[in-house]
Subunit: 418 residues, 2 copies
């Protein structure tokens, strides 16, 4: 091989790693040696320290402390503590974020609660192609509350907001798209909706822990987000919810479980919501799951989200350049914005045989994922993904194509979870 001067070489990517100011963060994770893990947008890896926290929680706090640990091991405020740790990553105040339930459930709370604050308005604006759970919950709540759900294309969102005008109740969008990685203008859309008197609910599933979200900087109203993707809280980790302080007294969510009560242990028969973010709690939440997420968040203790963002943009740019350099004419199309600023920390490609190709690539230890109908999704979590991984991943894809490995029957069988 005799690469031309503008060709990217593996040595080039190794040099980028050597100059990476946050390369050391990779040591905070347990990562299988044989993998190039590009699926942190689906399940973050295990951070060091989590297993130790879990052992203590089970062997000491549960087994020996038993019921006393709700007080003695400070279990009860764990959702608040984990929320506070997340708040810094998304530009919120510590007491505006709490960890509980799933995104689906939290979105339901916020949607009903927000619509109750805009009773005379009847239009919800969302996106065609939003993550399915968001669409399902939006549609369900709209029907239940007698509202109209208008799902439009990303480029039509602003127009749809304007057209709703004084009938705009709320806008619900996913900040970074789960398939394409496209980033919405949080500040602009929030202002546009609020200028008309509407409210906005942001889904930060693909933003929290990887993008320097500024909720309060954008005057955001409400948000939900995911604990098991870029926050590395483990499979199915609890979600988080953000309510701007100015809405604490006026928002009334419908899942009025006892943990959201102003005095849960008074066991009164009348529900009185806690006048804080705690009103978003419902029933007793898995303490083990919450403690795991809390321990996992220590990874971010001294991390500057802007530095992290610079790296994931650079990783994405490098990946795209390598795809162009190495995979030309093989049938791949870029399904993510090409400009880094408008793209989250993932790059998606389409290919008509995307499912089988991804299975073949995974079998080589390059772990991305597939999203129907034809998307190969590669996530670049800056704390542990290396520049050299971009080179190696693209070369594995190239070999899978050149050898036609993806045609093997085992890569073409559909599995339960994709």
């Amino acid at each position: 091989m005799n690469p031309s001067s503008d060709q990217i070489t593996r040595a080039h990517t190794e040099k980028m790693d050597a100059n990476d100011p946050i390369a050391h963060l990779r040591d905070r994770f347990v990562l299988p040696e044989s993998d190039i893990y590009l699926d942190g947008n689906s399940l973050g890896p295990l951070p060091h320290g989590v297993m130790e926290r879990l052992e203590k929680a089970v062997k000491e706090e549960w087994a020996q402390g038993l019921i006393r640990s709700w007080n003695d091991a400070d279990w009860y405020p764990a959702p608040q503590r984990a929320g506070a740790a997340i708040s810094r990553l998304i530009g919120a105040d510590e007491d505006e974020v709490i960890v509980c339930d799933s995104i689906s459930v939290n979105l339901y709370k916020l949607l009903v609660g927000a619509l109750r604050m805009r009773k005379d308005r009847k239009i919800i604006v969302s996106e065609i192609g939003n993550f399915p759970t968001d669409v399902y919950i939006n549609a369900e709540v709209a029907k239940m509350m007698g509202c109209e759900l208008r799902c439009v294309l990303p480029e039509e969102v602003e127009q749809a907001i304007d057209e709703a005008g004084e009938n705009l109740a709320l806008v619900q969008l996913t900040h970074i798209h789960y398939k394409s990685g496209r980033v919405y203008d949080m500040e602009g859309i929030t202002k546009r909706a609020q200028d008309l008197g509407g409210l906005v609910i942001w889904d930060l599933a693909h933003s929290a822990g990887t993008y320097p979200v500024q909720l309060n900087g954008c005057n955001a109203d409400f948000a939900v987000g995911c604990g098991y993707k870029y926050l590395n809280g483990g499979p199915g980790a609890p979600a988080f919810v953000f309510v701007a302080r100015r809405h604490f007294e006026t928002m009334h969510q419908p899942l009025v479980g006892w943990h959201g009560h102003a005095e849960p242990f008074a066991f009164t028969q009348e529900y009185k919501p806690h006048a804080s973010i705690e009103q978003m709690l419902t029933g007793t939440a898995s303490q083990l799951a919450t403690l795991v997420l809390e321990a996992a968040l220590k990874v971010f203790d001294d991390v500057d989200m802007n530095v992290l963002r610079q790296k994931n943009m650079a990783l994405g740019d490098l990946f795209i350049a390598l795809v162009e350099q190495e995979l030309g004419g093989m049938g791949f199309e870029l399904a993510s914005p090409k400009e880094a600023e408008g793209r989250g920390s993932q790059v998606s490609l389409t290919h008509e045989h995307g499912y089988a190709i991804m299975q073949a690539v995974i079998a080589r230890g390059v772990v991305g994922d597939f999203r129907a109908p034809d998307i190969l999704r590669f996530g670049f979590a800056a704390p542990y993904v290396r520049y050299v991984d971009m080179w190696d991943a693209v070369h594995h894809i190239r070999e899978v194509m050149q050898t036609e490995e993806w045609k093997r029957p085992e890569f073409n069988e559909r599995r339960a979870v994709t």
Copy 2:
């Protein structure tokens, strides 16, 4: 001491343990040596094998398998598997029970779903003094759906059902009361409500794992229950939900998260509920929490629920007899039904200084709990509680009263969680 012939002695209780056919089940739990643990109705102890399962889940399945474990480690069907394990304990079919979310959230799903099946009916009957979360959720849903919630005393429930007549939409009751331990006639109430065309939702929080519930034997419609009490699934373990098979097609719950979809990984924009118990799923649930509960349920593998029930009735009878024998004139009153048949596996006492007395008793290692305003609650989980524990517990209470230990300042400070 020279006890009279009808007095219960410690030796008498030791003999009961020696004759206990399920005494060996105690070895299935990790129990602190210094405790007499009578709070399994609030948090069950750690079963052996759970920590090992958790270590495998974290160190192998999460850390090494990463996203692949949703398929390769069979994570995805864990809610169904745990549900199937619970089904046997509550007289349901394996595919009628699933593990997810909290009781509060599941109750909300069932209430809205059931009311949608009885659109022309407007009355919900429940109990004054039902567990607060049940009351809050009942009241919220009733208001939202334009229904009237009639909360009555336990002895008035049947009359309230009859009075609602053809306007009865549903009855929502907790099978065994969290404070008193009173047991409702599940079969009789279910039939009474159904004869009028109503539906019934049972909360089995204090029944599952300790009472031989026969959901299908009673022709029950719906039920929810708790994973962290008698099922020993760990602090805040996920809850379970039961839907009778005949309602699979007609019940539509409102928390339409993607895991309840007929084809979750098709990522379609239209919600189509799974025509099975899986429609009760919402978002991605904590896998670690679900696997812990699944592992904990192995405790019940070969247990006959009727034998277990015989023992917890006998423990309660013994405790009440010892309270009468040892604590006369000290201000305690029995707050549970005296007849074992009408009582779950707990005995509650009232005392005007109940809070401080319970703290003093706990400090001696006799772990019960307190429920406002004046209830000392003692739970008798037959798999690990011994007859001799009844003798020792009552004698500790007696000493706390005789020495006035409960008056110490540290026992009179209210803590966050009671």
